[in-house]
């Protein structure tokens, strides 16, 4: 892919992101931040590629460290967001149960 094609993804994604995120209510800003944070762990893909196929020991070592860090970000991020949203859901359920 060319640089311009990549740039196209970047610009379009920025607009999509803006449109969606401005619609998210204040109530959900913490889960949004934590969920978005988990998505930024997508860099794990890059970590997997360099850790798996690194041509030198140094590159492989760096890749390993990157895999550990990105996995912490992904797994921890989604779990924390999930437990946060569970609390929102339980208060909602209770209200409807009253």
């Amino acid at each position: 892919m060319t640089f311009v094609q990549n740039l196209t993804f970047f610009v379009l994604a920025a607009f999509v992101g803006y449109e969606i995120i401005t619609k998210i209510p204040t109530n959900l800003h913490t889960p949004l931040m934590s969920g978005a944070n988990a998505i930024s762990g997508i860099t794990l893909i890059g970590s997997v590629v360099v850790a798996g196929s690194g041509s030198t020991t140094l590159a492989t070592g760096l890749g390993f460290l990157a895999v550990v860090m990105a996995t912490v970000n992904v797994v921890g991020g989604y779990l924390v967001t999930n437990s946060m949203l569970d609390q929102f859901r339980s208060s909602d359920d209770r209200r409807r149960g009253d």
Partner: protein
């Protein structure tokens, strides 16, 4: 180990990445309502599993043991941190995770450079985006660690300032940019002298950017952390997106950009809520203009009315409408459950109870909302600043718990000072204001609060949790 799906064509892989990208977007779309948000998080996690899974399957893995060890170790640490965290520690945990994402991006860019220079190939597109990923990723990693440290109380959370501060920061920024330029330009200028295999200028860049990350966050005080956390969130997304440019990977670019946009929007919202520019948060230095203790005593002298839980209970007895305004103090005292119980008791007696939430109350965006949700307060009861402010004049009792600067009326009248012009909750318009605080000490801004001296304000001194629990018990006895 050869790739399990090595035969998969590049366009098929790109298609799977596209699906993952769509899942991320749909996941965020579901975040627009509390009812669909949990599903959104699952969809987003599914997109992540798909993207990572397919990558593991199509990559020629030279050292599978190392890779899976990395995944296992990371997952174990992530689960352990997520399961053991207390709600009050949530801001620093989110900050910490954030830093890890940024750090990983910087390392990936470095490893990719080593690979590229090792094979003798050279592309300006790769080196320039790698330089960007390195700077943003390193700043994110160290900045987040310092921010998390401040929130956790292991790093001094006051605004640490020194002379020549801006010059020192500029120096390290210039240093990292120069190292980046060197990385991009050198092979062209001095083609005969190949860069060493481990790409030293990249690590100079990482070192300079790391120091810059620390220096950027150290001078920022605890109360500005919502802005910092949101901005670092944005950076970690941008770091992932630039890594996507380095690796020529569409899903990295899409997902990273979504996060970048999200963090930036939250940052702007937080700044607007404080009537401050981003530059002011980073370079302005709140707290410098704090007023002297004598002036504070002048304002409070003889004008402070104190009250007791018994009296507050009587006041609540004749109230039709009560608004509760929580602040960071509620989080510190872990008073949210007692507060929620009080609200529920009042509701049962037919009192109209709402919560007024200032956008920057707490230490991360939406901090109060999460704490109150944990205590099972229905989200319909939570009102933001624009919604709640017009209602204070028809409110009988406002209970302020652990909030100070966000209810300071001098923000509306002062021409200068740290909080001048900041939109605040105008609680003073209510008939009676009960302020629960441990003492008259000023809020983070260091500015005295004339609200405490107002005729209709009664100070209820004491620990938030204990005082609210006492109030709940007295209320129960009498109803």
């Amino acid at each position: 180990m050869a790739a399990i799906l090595g035969g998969l064509s590049a366009s098929a892989l790109a298609f799977v990445y596209l699906i993952a990208g769509i899942l991320f977007i749909q996941g965020l779309r579901d975040m627009t309502h509390p009812r669909t948000a949990p599903r959104g998080n699952l969809i987003s996690a599914g997109g992540m599993a798909l993207a990572v899974g397919i990558t593991v399957l199509v990559t020629d893995i030279l050292s599978p043991v190392l890779l899976f060890a990395g995944l296992l170790v990371g997952a174990a640490i992530g689960v352990w941190l997520a399961v053991t965290v207390e709600t009050t520690e949530m801001p620093q945990l989110v900050g910490l995770f954030n830093g890890f994402g940024g750090g990983a991006s910087a390392l990936v860019a470095g490893a990719e450079l080593i690979d590229m220079f090792g094979t003798g190939a050279f592309q300006v597109g790769v080196t320039s985006t790698a330089a960007l990923a390195g700077i943003i990723g390193s700043v994110t990693f160290w900045g987040s660690l310092v921010a998390a440290g401040k929130l956790h109380g292991v790093v001094d959370d006051s605004a640490v300032r020194y002379s020549g501060e801006q010059a020192v920061k500029a120096l390290f920024l210039v240093l990292s940019v120069l190292a980046g330029l060197h990385l991009i330009v050198r092979p062209n200028l001095l083609g005969a002298v190949p860069l060493a295999g481990w790409v030293p200028s990249y690590w100079v860049l990482v070192a300079a950017a790391s120091i810059l990350g620390v220096l950027l966050v150290i001078p920022i005080g605890g109360a500005d952390m919502p802005v910092v956390i949101a901005l670092l969130n944005s950076y970690s997304g941008l770091a992932a997106a630039t890594t996507g440019f380095v690796l020529d990977n569409s899903v990295l670019i899409i997902a990273g950009t979504l996060v970048g946009a999200s963090g930036l929007i939250l940052t702007v919202i937080m700044c607007e809520s404080m009537n401050r520019s981003l530059a002011n948060v980073f370079f302005g230095g709140i707290g410098e203009a704090s007023e002297s203790g004598e002036e504070m005593e002048d304002i409070y002298e003889g004008n402070i009315t104190t009250t007791s839980p018994e009296e507050v209970e009587m006041t609540l007895d004749v109230a039709d409408r009560v608004v509760i305004v929580p602040g960071y103090g509620m989080a510190v005292a872990q008073a949210q459950h007692a507060v929620a119980e009080l609200a529920e008791l009042l509701e049962k007696e037919g009192v109209d109870v709402e919560f007024g939430i200032h956008p920057v109350a707490g230490r991360m965006p939406g901090h109060m909302n999460v704490l109150l949700a944990e205590a099972d307060v229905p989200y319909e009861k939570l009102r933001d600043l624009e919604e709640i402010n017009p209602t204070f004049s028809q409110t009988d009792v406002v209970i302020v718990i652990g909030a100070n600067d966000v209810v300071n009326p001098s923000a509306n009248t002062a021409d200068s000072g740290p909080i001048a012009g900041m939109p605040v909750l105008n609680v003073g318009e209510a008939r009676t204001v009960i302020v629960n605080k441990r003492s008259l000490s000023p809020g983070f801004s260091g500015v005295p609060n004339p609200l405490f001296a107002q005729d209709n304000t009664n100070m209820l001194f004491g620990d938030g949790k204990e005082t609210m629990q006492e109030l709940v018990n007295i209320y129960k006895e009498n109803h």
